[in-house]
C-alpha cells in the first residue's frame, strides 16, 4: 500500500513540526531568561559562571549531564575524563549522553528545557539566537587572552562557546601511494595536484581522489578550503559578502570546485560515486587503496587508527595559485552551558577543565588546542618554518555578522551542504547536460539575487 509513503513523508514533517511546536509554550520562559541575560550582559551575570580556582573547587557540587557527539568514546575516554575531573572537583557527578546524529537530535531537544548542562552549540542555530539557549561564558575581550576561535560564537561581545578543538583543513593523503606513483614533492599548485592525481591513476591501483559522494556531508569539507584557494584570510567572511561575482571564473569558489570537476571528468575519482561508503573509505586511505581525500584534521586520528603504518598518513594544504599558502583554522563544535542548567558552576567548571586539562583538543579532537600558546600537534610540526601559514578566518565586519549564512540560506545554494557538489560530480561524469560553467552561473545568479535581498534588508 503506497499510501504509507505519503503518510510517512507527511508524518515526518508533521511530527517534526509537532516537536518544534512544543517551543511555543516555552517562549515566555526563554524570552524572560534572554531578557535577564541581556540585562546582565555587561555585569555580574557574566562573571557568575566563571570557574573558581584552588580550594573553591571543592565547594562546587551537583550533578551535571554532558551531551556529546562522540558515541565512539563516550564509554571509554570520557569515563576517564570524568575520573580525572573528580580529582579536582570531588563533589560533582558527571553523567554523559552521546547522540549519534547530534545536530538533528539536539535541535529538537532544544525546543524543550531539557538539553543537558554542558553541550555543543549546534551550528544550525542562528548566532543571534544563542543567548536564548546558552549561558554567557564571559566577555570576548576577557576570554580572548586565553582562547582562540571565540569570534564564531559571540553575540554583542559576549561569548557563548569555546571550541572543543580547532581544525585545519586540506588534503589527507597516503604517502606510500604518492611514493609508488613517483610523486616526490608535495603538490602545491592546481597543476601539480592534478599531475599527481594522474600519476597515481597511471602507476598505482589506488583511487587518486575519493569523493565520498554518497555520504554527502564529506563533500562539504571542500568548502573549508576556500580560504586556501583565495590565499586571503579575509575572503570568506568579508570579501565574499561584498561581491556579486562569487562564482565567476577566477574567483576562489570557481577555482576550488574546478578541481573537483576536473578530477571527476578525467576519471580520477572512484568508479561509482553513488555507492561510496565513508567508514570503509577511511581504512582504504589508511592502507593505500585511496590516494587522497579532502577533509579536515579531525579525520587524521581516525584514519591513522586504521592504518597498518600510521606514518603513511599525511596532511598537505589544498592546492592554490595564491602567492602564499594559508591553511585556515576553524572551530570544531563549541562547548557551552545550557541556560536551563541547575548547576551552572559545575557545568562551567567542566567546560574549562575539558578544554584546558583533558587533552581532548589535540588527542581525540585531532586538531589544535584553542588555548593560546598550546603546543602544535605532531603532524603540523613539519610545516614550522615553511612558507605555509596557519591562521583563523577574519571575522565579518561589524554589522555584517552572519551574512554569508543568511545569503546562502536565502539563495538555497548550500555552501555547507552537499547538493551542488553532487551536481558538479554528476555533470563531470556525464550524468547531466550542464557544463561546469552552467552550474557556476546558476549559483552565481542565485547568490546575486539573495545578496541583493539580504543587503537591503539589513
Amino acid at each position: 500500500m503506497k499510501k504509507t509513503k505519503a503518510v510517512t513523508g507527511l508524518a515526518t514533517l508533521t511530527l517534526m513540526a509537532g516537536l518544534f511546536s512544543g517551543c511555543s509554550s516555552n517562549n515566555n520562559n526563554a524570552t524572560n531568561a534572554a531578557a535577564t541575560n541581556a540585562g546582565g550582559n555587561t555585569g555580574t551575570a557574566v562573571e557568575a559562571t566563571a570557574a573558581p580556582e584552588g580550594d573553591a573547587a571543592k565547594d562546587i557540587k551537583g550533578d551535571i549531564t554532558v551531551i556529546t557527539q562522540r558515541t565512539d568514546i563516550v564509554d571509554t575516554v570520557f569515563k576517564d575524563y570524568a575520573a580525572k575531573f573528580n580529582e579536582k572537583y570531588p563533589n560533582v557527578k558527571v553523567n554523559f549522553e552521546a547522540l549519534s546524529n547530534y545536530e538533528d537530535q539536539i535541535k529538537i531537544r532544544m525546543s524543550t528545557s531539557d538539553y543537558g548542562d554542558v553541550l555543543l552549540l549546534p551550528t544550525s542555530v542562528a548566532i543571534k539566537d544563542l543567548p536564548d539557549f546558552f549561558e554567557p561564558l564571559g566577555k570576548k575581550s576577557d576570554l580572548e587572552q586565553q582562547y582562540t576561535g571565540l569570534e564564531e560564537r559571540t553575540v554583542d561581545g559576549i561569548s557563548y562557546g569555546i571550541p572543543i578543538t580547532v581544525n585545519f583543513s586540506g588534503v589527507i593523503y597516503n604517502k606510500q601511494v604518492f611514493k609508488d606513483a613517483g610523486v616526490t614533492e608535495v603538490p602545491r599548485t592546481f597543476d601539480q595536484f592534478s599531475a599527481a592525481l594522474k600519476s597515481i591513476k597511471e602507476k598505482t591501483d589506488a583511487v587518486p581522489l575519493y569523493t565520498n559522494y554518497a555520504a554527502g556531508w564529506t563533500l562539504t569539507q571542500w568548502e573549508a578550503d576556500l580560504a586556501t584557494v583565495a590565499g586571503d584570510r579575509e575572503y570568506v567572511n568579508i570579501g565574499q559578502v561584498a561581491s556579486d561575482d562569487n562564482f565567476v571564473p577566477g574567483q576562489p569558489h570557481y577555482e576550488l570546485y574546478k578541481v573537483m570537476y576536473d578530477a571527476a571528468k578525467e576519471g580520477l575519482i572512484e568508479e561509482d560515486p553513488t555507492t561510496t561508503d565513508w567508514e570503509s573509505s577511511k581504512a582504504d586511505l589508511a592502507n593505500g587503496k585511496i590516494g587522497t581525500m579532502i577533509l579536515g584534521s579531525w579525520a587524521i586520528g581516525q584514519i591513522k587508527g586504521l592504518a597498518a603504518n600510521p606514518d603513511d598518513v599525511g596532511f598537505m594544504p589544498f592546492p592554490t595559485n595564491a602567492d602564499k599558502i594559508l591553511v585556515p583554522l576553524s572551530d570544531d563544535y563549541n562547548l557551552g552551558v545550557s541556560i536551563h542548567s541547575k548547576n551552572k558552576e559545575a557545568a562551567r567548571a567542566w567546560v574549562d577543565w575539558f578544554i584546558n586539562e583533558s587533552g581532548y583538543p589535540t588527542t581525540e579532537g585531532g586538531g589544535m588546542s584553542p588555548v593560546k600558546g598550546a603546543e602544535l600537534p605532531e603532524i603540523l610540526k613539519q610545516f614550522e618554518g615553511t612558507d605555509i601559514t596557519f591562521d583563523t578566518l577574519a571575522p565579518a565586519k561589524a554589522g555584517e555578522e552572519g551574512w554569508v549564512d543568511a545569503i546562502d540560506k536565502e539563495a538555497e545554494i548550500g555552501l555547507w551542504q552537499p547538493d551542488f557538489k553532487k551536481v558538479i560530480i554528476e555533470a563531470a561524469i556525464g550524468n547531466r547536460k550542464q557544463s561546469y560553467d552552467d552550474i557556476m552561473k546558476e549559483l552565481n545568479d542565485k547568490w546575486k539575487a539573495a545578496r541583493a535581498k539580504i543587503v537591503t534588508a539589513k
Partner: protein, 293 residues
C-alpha cells in the same frame, strides 16, 4: 461515592463510549490535527525552525512555490513510481489469485510475499543499496547467470536510477497490496467457483469473470492509495541516494528546504501544497471511477 450502576443503561453506554474513545481521540488530536494545524500556521511565516520570534509574511511562501518552476520539476520523478504502481498491483493481483487456489506450500509463499512489508523502510534502503552496488548482489547474480553484458551501475546511470529505486519500492509495498487482494478474493464463496467449473470455466475465465468483478472496489481503493503514494515518495530514495543524481522527489525537497536551509515556513507551505495535491487527485479519481459505472 457515585456508582456506575446508579446510572441508567443509556447513560452508562454514553459514559463508556466516551471514556473508551477519549484516548484515541486525544492521541489523534495531539499527533495528527494539532501538527497539521501548526503546519498551516507555519506556512504563513518565515520561521527558521528554532528562533523564538516568528514573522508572518502572508502568502509569500506559496507565491515562491508557484512561481519557481524548480519546485515542481521534481514531480517528473513521481512518474516512475506511478508506472511502477501498475506493475506492483499487477504482481500483487497475480500472486493473490494464484495463492487463492490450492497450491502447495501456500502459506509459506504468503509469508514470503508479505515479509518485506514488515521490514523497516530504512533497512530496506540499505539492503537495496548493497543490492545495486557495482560489485553488489544484482551484478553478482547476473554474472553467475552468464549475463555479464547486462551488468550495470544501477544507481550511477541517470536513465536507470529511478527505475532501480522504483523497483525497490515495488518490492517493499507489493506485499501489502497482495494481502489486501488475497483477503478480498477469499471472501468470494466457493460455490461460485464450483458452479463455474460445472459450466466449463477454466482458471482464466474464473479470474476474468468472477474474481475481477468481485474485488473491483478493492482494486479502486488500492489504486487511489497507490497514486497518492507515488506523489509522496520519500523513504527509499531518501535513504538510498539522498535525492542525488536526479532521484529527488517533492517530499525530499521539502525536507531539504526545512532542515538544510532552515526555511521551515516555506517547507510547511510545500507540505500544504502536497496535501492539497493528494486530496485533489483522490477526489478526481473518485469522480472518474464513479462515472465509469
Amino acid at each position: 461515592m457515585p456508582k456506575l450502576s446508579n446510572l441508567s443503561y443509556k447513560n452508562q453506554r454514553i459514559l463508556i463510549i466516551f471514556l473508551f474513545s477519549l484516548v484515541p481521540v486525544v492521541l489523534l488530536l495531539t499527533f495528527s490535527y494539532l501538527p497539521v494545524f501548526k503546519m498551516f500556521q507555519y506556512s504563513f511565516t518565515s520561521w527558521n525552525g528554532l528562533s523564538k520570534n516568528m514573522e508572518y509574511i502572508g502568502f509569500d511562501n506559496y507565491k515562491t512555490i508557484f512561481t519557481k518552476p524548480e519546485y515542481f520539476a521534481v514531480f517528473k520523478v513521481s512518474l516512475y513510481y506511478f508506472f511502477a504502481t501498475f506493475v506492483q498491483m499487477g504482481l500483487a493481483l497475480y500472486f493473490a489469485t494464484i495463492l487463492s487456489f490450492n497450491v502447495r506450500l501456500k502459506n509459506w509463499f504468503k509469508g514470503i510475499l508479505f515479509f518485506p512489508t514488515l521490514l523497516n523502510g530504512v533497512a530496506i534502503g540499505f539492503i537495496f543499496l548493497f543490492f545495486f552496488k557495482p560489485e553488489g548482489t544484482l551484478n553478482t547474480i547476473l554474472d553467475l547467470l552468464g549475463l555479464t553484458s547486462l551488468q550495470q551501475k544501477w544507481l550511477l546511470n541517470p536513465q536507470l536510477i529511478n527505475v532501480s529505486l522504483a523497483f525497490a519500492s515495488v518490492w517493499r509495498y507489493m506485499g501489502m497490496n497482495f494481502i489486501i487482494f488475497l483477503g478480498a478474493i477469499s471472501s468470494i464463496g466457493s460455490d461460485i467457483y464450483e458452479a463455474s467449473e460445472i459450466d466449463g470455466a477454466n482458471r482464466w475465465h474464473q479470474f476474468r469473470h468472477i474474481i475481477i468483478p468481485s474485488i473491483k472496489r478493492i482494486l479502486q481503493l488500492n489504486l487511489i492509495l497507490a497514486v497518492s503514494g507515488a506523489i509522496g515518495v520519500f523513504e527509499i530514495p531518501y535513504v538510498m541516494t539522498g535525492g542525488s543524481n536526479g532521484s529527488g522527489t517533492f517530499v525530499i525537497q521539502t525536507v531539504d528546504v526545512a532542515f538544510k536551509y532552515s526555511k521551515l515556513g516555506l517547507a510547511s507551505a510545500m507540505a500544504v501544497v502536497l496535501l492539497g495535491i493528494v486530496i485533489l487527485v483522490t477526489i478526481l479519481q473518485r469522480i472518474l471511477i464513479k462515472e465509469e459505472k
